[in-house]
Each structure stands twice: as C-alpha cells, then as structure tokens.
Point group: C2
Amino acid sequence: MTADPVSAVFGALADPTRRAILARLATGEATVNELAAPFPISVQAISKHLGVLERAGLIVRTRDAQWRRCRLDPTPLRTVAEWVDQYRRLWAERYDALDDYLHDLKETSHDRDP
Amino acid sequence: MTADPVSAVFGALADPTRRAILARLATGEATVNELAAPFPISVQAISKHLGVLERAGLIVRTRDAQWRRCRLDPTPLRTVAEWVDQYRRLWAERYDALDDYLHDLKETSHDRDP
DNA sequence: TGTAGATTCAACCCGACGGTTAATTAGCTA
DNA sequence: TAGCTAATTAACCGTCGGGTTGAATCTACA
C-alpha cells in the first residue's frame, strides 16, 4: 500500500478485472454499478478494485448525486509507456539479430568476435 | 500462479527489486550472486524474484557449470508496450488539450518545438 | 575423495489481495 | 418523515507474495 507509484500502477494493471474496467472506461465515464454489471462478482469487490485503480492514479471518482462517476486518467499509462520504452531498443536489436541470422544463412563468410 | 500471461508480466513488473534486476540485465547477462550483490536481501529472496521473472517470460536461465546465467528476454515488454498503446490516443488527446490551453495563454509567441 | 561455492528447496512468518456477507453512509423522492 | 437506491466500510476467509533461516543439490577443484 505504501508502494512507489510505478509499482502501484503495474500492480493495478496486474489483474484482468481491473484491465477490463479500464477498457470500459476508455469508452467514457461510468458509475460503479454500471462498471460492475458485466462481472460475476459483487459490487463491493468492484468497489475495492476501483480503490486500487484510484490509488494508482488511473481513475478519478467524482460525486454526482448518489452516484460516483468514474473517469479514466491515462496519465500513469504514459509513465508506463516511457518505462517500457527504455527497453524498446533491446527487442529491436533482437529483431536485428534475427535479420542478421537470416542474412548469414544466405551469405557464406562471417567472423565471430567474443 | 495460474494467472494469464499479461497479468503475470504486469505482476512481475510491480516490484522495484525485480525492475532493478531487469535494468541490470539490460546491460548483459549475470549470475544469481551477481544480481543479488547490490540488494540488502538474501540470495534466496533474489532467487524467488528470478522465478517470478522467469515465469513471466522476462528472463531465461541457462546452466553454466555451477552458475545459472540469467538473460533478459524483452519479448513480453513488447506485449506490454502494445497493450499500453491502446490508450495512447487518450493521453495524446489530453496533451492536445493542454497544448491548446497553453497556446491560448500565450496566443502569439515564438515556438521552438522538438 | 572431500570440501567449498552457487543455487535452489522447504518450512515458516506476516501482511496484502481478491472475494464474500452484513452493516453503514449518503442522497433522492414519495 | 420514511423508504429506496448507490456506494462504501467492516469483518472475515483462504491464498499469494516477499522475506527469513536452514537444509539439500549440484559442480568445480585441491
């Protein structure tokens, strides 16, 4: 619960129910009951999931009469994208290595250095 | 344990120690002891973290004499990047809105954009 | 052969997580 | 005011996660 923000976001995304909630909210605001409807679990469980998403900064909840409207805040996802981008070069290299390998198959000479 | 692959990857990334291990492995292969050295926790705990990372597909472990060399496999990070990209439009819109706002503030000024 | 080192396995502790049901708060409306 | 609905809070349960210590396994090497 006292986790750093990055861990909080990754932790919040590590659950299929919460990711489904985010996908739903990507189409627009919704109340708790609306969000809970598609799931076979209680509305209280959904409320807990929303608490996790809110603490991670992924949603904001505003009071509207007796309803709580939930809205997606994609800002932390931008942070996640930036974090993952640190490694983009690596899987790009992996692609390059595959290219090289396929290229080597066609050529005949190659030198290896340690 | 029986979590879907996406949840397994996000869950593996939801820990600062494991992210630090990945950052270290981004610079090249390492043994378990080498990976454990910077951390104030036991090597057994690191071994558990490596198990989580391996189950998530983020690292591969190869046996080399009595050592276990760990190598980063960035493939699942590509999956994460693709997942996050689904939401890129949303924070881009948010950026656009901010841009509009800042633009309105300055109205006329010099622009030096990247 | 025996011993030292690298790593994992096993058992345990404690707190967090995902879920439940029951009770409570908050706000609309008759 | 009472009563209905939306949502959260509280208490509880079983499991998992991160950590520990101690023992087991595997390998190199004197």
